[in-house]
């Protein structure tokens, strides 16, 4: 191995802010070790404030370190002074970011190049020849030696800075963002120059840049720095081609030219550390992600009403210690089911409203498959307007699906989930269609061979037999129905929902729905809204389709949905245990229980529960650690049944 020229050993650098008030300390570098070997280019990459410039300054002895040891050419830099320090400094060169700012505007180029040699008293008989040689080496003409910095372009100034840096025949160069202020074409010239100089003078570089392209182009080894700590350090090729850390992957994704913006999943500010588009639905990321979907998936806004109709407030009576038979208190059940929100409305009054995990009455939460129920209600409207009939064949509206499994299915078969498709709804299986759909919709990173976009995905689905025979829960059906809705209304799904439901229903807060890069909505699970607004959908069922004096959906449709489908969901074993004799109608689950309760459920514990007998609506948002679990479902059912039968 080549000898080490600079080594940093457990270096820490703390800055203190002075001034009035409380003094603050800021750790720019935290316990950082590295070695710069002879003849290598070591790249340091990171964002602003990651400590990369401080690292360079500490390594080259420009600023002292707070603790730890910096060794340069085998000497502890904090222990040497006087001529010994000057000898070390002579063997170092520096190139900084802004060449115009780092060159003295009053000096001629020839003097700028000569200055380090004069300082180190390196006079020889061919002093002026050496200046000319250096200038020609970095591509400056002898005429330009007579100019001052303002008479040169940015790229030429940076050449002067480089000539200056190599004038004392140094062995190591500190390059702090050497090309950041330059045009790409000039940057290419400077990078080529630096590369040539290194082989010619066998220099080592400590190259600092925020630009991964520059780093990866030039350096042998790369260090990724974040918050003063090493995120990843190793051979450049392996870091670029096979990054191990999420932060490095994010940097690589964020490069310009790394792909069309619209295919990018992670885009917005303040993602939590360790955020991964493939993991956000899982614990613990879902605790944050379900309230912040718009920060990493493209969304469209479903506008709220300009004349909102808020819920009547009523003083809540104590509910936390009420016992649910055999399951413990309500409070303890909320705790064990990772609750984000619980809202109970009885006879038009809020009787329980409880938020956790940083939520409040204005917080939106991802509905997951509760979104389907909203589409069901929308279809009641579309049918009433005569825009479609549920007996229509799907391909009458979307001829593009003629070659797919939907070719012979009807709208009502999609609404009631009796389309026979090859579709696996196994949430944790990467080969399942539901995960493929997530990837098509930019809910996960797309893999090679995935269909881009929701509509092409729907077109790729194949049939598995006779439609209308058997219940098969298939999320894609809802997205298909949203496509039809957009087609018959000639508008975006978000606008359709806003005009036909959000505004007439007087919903208070703008909601969002995730869309793919072509603007197609993920109607089966992409809506985020507040618990209070969602509960309004329950009110529709209790008031025969009315919200206040406003008729939103036909009374007939409400009755038809509450009655359920003739086709029961007995084929699914755990559903039979949950609600024997239950069915699925118009995107809602019908329990056929004593009180005729109906509900919608989304993975990871999202619910709206309606008990028409006791006039109770329950909304619960949760972030369970698993998508589906029969024990969680049973516990929720028990909780909802008992709450609705109590009088608050």
């Amino acid at each position: 191995m080549s000898p080490t020229q600079i080594s940093l050993n457990h270096v820490k650098k703390t800055f203190r802010t002075r001034g009035l008030g409380k003094r603050k300390e800021f750790d720019a570098l935290v316990d950082l070790s590295l070695d710069l070997r002879k003849g290598e280019i070591l790249g340091v990459v990171g964002e602003s404030g990651s400590g990369k410039s401080t690292l360079g300054r500490c390594a080259f002895g420009i600023v002292p370190v707070t603790s730890g040891k910096v060794t340069v050419f085998g000497e502890d830099i904090s222990q040497v002074s006087g001529s010994a320090l000057r000898d070390i400094k002579k063997r170092m060169g520096f190139v900084f970011q802004d060449p115009i700012a780092s060159l003295n505007p009053r000096m001629y180029v020839k003097d700028l190049i000569a200055e380090p040699m004069r300082m180190h008293q390196e006079f020889s008989h061919n002093f002026y020849e050496r200046i000319e040689y250096l200038a020609s080496r970095v591509g400056l003409s002898s005429e330009q030696l007579q100019r001052r910095p303002h008479e040169l372009s940015g790229g030429q100034c940076q050449r002067v800075a480089i000539a200056r840096a190599i004038s004392t025949n140094p062995e190591i160069l500190l390059l702090d963002e050497p090309t950041s202020s330059l045009d790409l074409s000039v940057q290419a010239q400077i990078l080529n120059l630096l590369s040539d100089l290194r082989s010619e003078f066998s220099l080592s570089y400590l190259l600092i840049s925020h630009d991964l392209d520059v780093i990866s182009h030039l350096s042998d080894r790369t260090m990724v720095l974040h918050d003063g700590q090493i995120v990843e350090f190793g051979d450049t090729q392996s870091i670029i081609n096979d990054p191990q850390q999420e932060y490095t992957k994010t940097l690589l994704r964020m490069k310009s030219g790394s792909g069309r913006i619209d295919t990018l999943g992670t885009s917005s500010p303040s993602l939590p550390p360790g955020f991964d588009l493939d993991m956000w639905q899982e614990a613990p990321l879902n605790r944050w992600a379900f309230q912040n979907v718009e920060k990493f998936i493209s969304t469209q806004i479903i506008e709220a009403s300009s004349t909102p109709a808020p819920w009547a407030e009523r003083k809540q009576s104590p509910w936390r210690d009420l016992e649910i038979s055999g399951e413990g208190s309500i409070g303890s059940i909320l705790e064990s089911t990772y609750t984000d929100a619980l809202l109970v409305v009885q006879n038009g009054n809020i009787v329980i409203e409880h938020y956790e995990n940083g939520m409040n009455p204005e917080s939106k939460h991802l509905l997951q498959s509760v979104s389907k129920g909203i589409l069901g209600v929308l279809y009641a409207q579309l049918e009433a307007e005569g825009l479609l009939a549920t007996s229509d064949l799907i391909i009458e509206h979307i001829p593009e699906l003629a070659g797919s499994g939907y070719a012979t299915a009807t709208i009502s078969e999609a609404l009631d989930m009796t389309v026979a498709l090859n579709f696996s709804e196994e949430y944790h299986d990467p080969d399942s269609e539901i995960q493929q759909q997530d990837r098509s919709a930019n809910w996960r990173h797309r893999l090679a061979g995935d269909v881009p976009g929701i509509h092409p995905f729907l077109q790729s689905l194949t049939g598995s037999g006779q439609h209308g025979q058997q219940f098969q829960y298939c999320s894609a059906n809802t997205d298909l129905l949203a496509w039809i809705a957009e087609r018959v209304c000639g508008d975006t799904y978000a606008t359709i929902l806003s005009d036909r439901l959000w505004k007439p229903m007087g919903l208070v807060t703008d909601s969002t729905i995730t869309v793919d890069e072509f603007g197609a909505p993920l109607a089966n699970g992409g809506i985020s809204m507040t618990a209070r607004d969602l509960a309004r959908f329950g009110a529709l069922f209790l008031d025969e389709g009315y919200i206040g004096n406003q008729a939103v959906v036909p009374k007939k449709w409400i009755a038809q949905t509450l009655a359920g489908a003739s086709n029961s969901v007995q084929s699914v074993e755990y559903l039979q245990v949950l609600h024997p004799g239950g069915s699925y109608k118009n995107q809602w689950w019908i329990t056929k229980g004593e009180n005729q309760e109906i509900y919608c459920v989304g993975i990871y514990g999202q619910y709206i529960w309606i008990d028409p007998t006791t006039k109770t609506i329950i909304v619960k948002f949760s972030t369970l650690p698993v998508a589906t679990n029969s024990e969680h479902s049973r516990l929720h059912m028990a909780l909802f049944r008992e709450i609705s039968r109590r009088k608050f």
Binding site: S48, S153, L184, N192, H210, H217, T236, M254, G257, S298
Partner: protein, 317 residues
């Protein structure tokens, strides 16, 4: 294909000193942008990119003389009379360095309100729309942002404020001049995504000016490569960047460093953009071009080659 929002034809700018034209940095630029589409303008420093943006809004210094036609949908040809109705209302501008584009002695709120007033919004409407826009551009702590002075915000936050400011009205066209050059690459990506999403939402036409071809390729539908005050190649982004025809476009693309290129193998374009474009005879790129021929002494006009327009006398297919 929808109708263009803006059509620029033969736009040229002269700089005069004591009544004599001393410099012609823009020598006849033509393009059009449709509603909801993005045109990327790329080129090196000194090619006239920023000047193109500024001359659309007639924000040129007093010694500049603008020639050519700029036509805006619904307003006809833009001139100094109707410019007042258009500037900042129909056409918004995002400047490169947010720290120098905001006035340092007024709070963000004050500056946004001035623009809101300009859009014809009353006090209450203005306040509501300012808050809405700041939320849309991804700022969280809006009260703090509003009461801050520009130096108290980071570059990324300030650039978000500027985008919010540009969208207080409902512009038909947004001109973004190097909107991310002063920012970190991760922040830059966020800002670009934001602009993209807002464009999807509001449907404005976008002119994105940048020296970074990679950045432009991430968002632009069409691209115009500018060299020495002229468009040398223009067409759909995909076509131009995947198979560049003009030697200058090729050079720009080869200058982008990446891990896949062997070290030292960057093909830099030798030399510089000609400083005084007044005296150019023939092809302006000839002095730096590796394919130069005797015929390059003639000024090449834009002509269609392989699905896009190229101004080169040598390239034929």
């Amino acid at each position: 294909m929808s109708a263009p929002i803006i059509r620029v034809s033969n736009l040229a700018v002269d700089f005069a000193s004591k009544g004599i034209v001393v410099n012609t940095p823009l020598r006849g630029v033509s393009f059009e942008v449709e509603s909801g589409k993005t045109l990327g303008i790329v080129g090196e420093t000194g090619c006239g990119k920023t000047l193109t943006g500024l001359s659309i809004l007639n924000l040129l210094p007093p010694n500049a003389i603008r020639r050519g036609e700029i036509w805006l949908d619904g307003h006809g040809e833009l001139n100094s009379q109707n410019m007042a109705d258009v500037r900042g209302v129909q056409i918004s501008f995002i400047f490169q360095n947010p720290h120098s584009a905001f006035n340092p002695v007024f709070t963000i709120e004050k500056q946004l309100k001035i623009v809101a007033h300009r859009q014809g919004l009353d006090h209450h409407q203005g306040e509501r729309i300012i808050r809405d826009r700041l939320k849309e551009v991804g700022l969280d702590d809006i009260d703090r942002v509003l009461t801050s002075f520009p130096h108290q915000l980071s570059g990324g936050m300030l650039q978000r404020c500027m985008i919010a400011m540009a969208l207080l009205g409902t512009p038909k066209l947004l001109i973004a001049d190097e909107p991310t050059t002063a920012l970190d690459s991760t922040i830059a990506r966020q800002i670009l995504t934001l602009i993209y999403n807002l464009q999807k939402q509001y449907g404005f036409a976008l002119i994105l000016i940048s020296h970074d071809v990679g950045l432009v390729s991430d968002i632009a539908d069409n691209i115009a490569v500018l060299y020495a005050g002229r468009v040398v190649e223009t067409g759909t982004t995909n076509l131009v960047l995947s198979d560049p025809k003009h030697p200058y476009t090729k050079g720009l693309l080869q200058a982008i460093p990446s891990a896949s290129v062997v070290r030292g193998g960057l093909t830099a374009i030798p030399g510089q953009v000609p400083a005084n474009t007044l005296t150019i005879v023939g092809c302006s790129f000839a002095s730096r071009c590796s394919q130069v021929q005797a015929s390059c002494a003639n000024d090449p006009a834009l002509k269609e080659i392989a699905g896009r327009n190229v101004a080169c006398g040598v390239v034929t297919r």
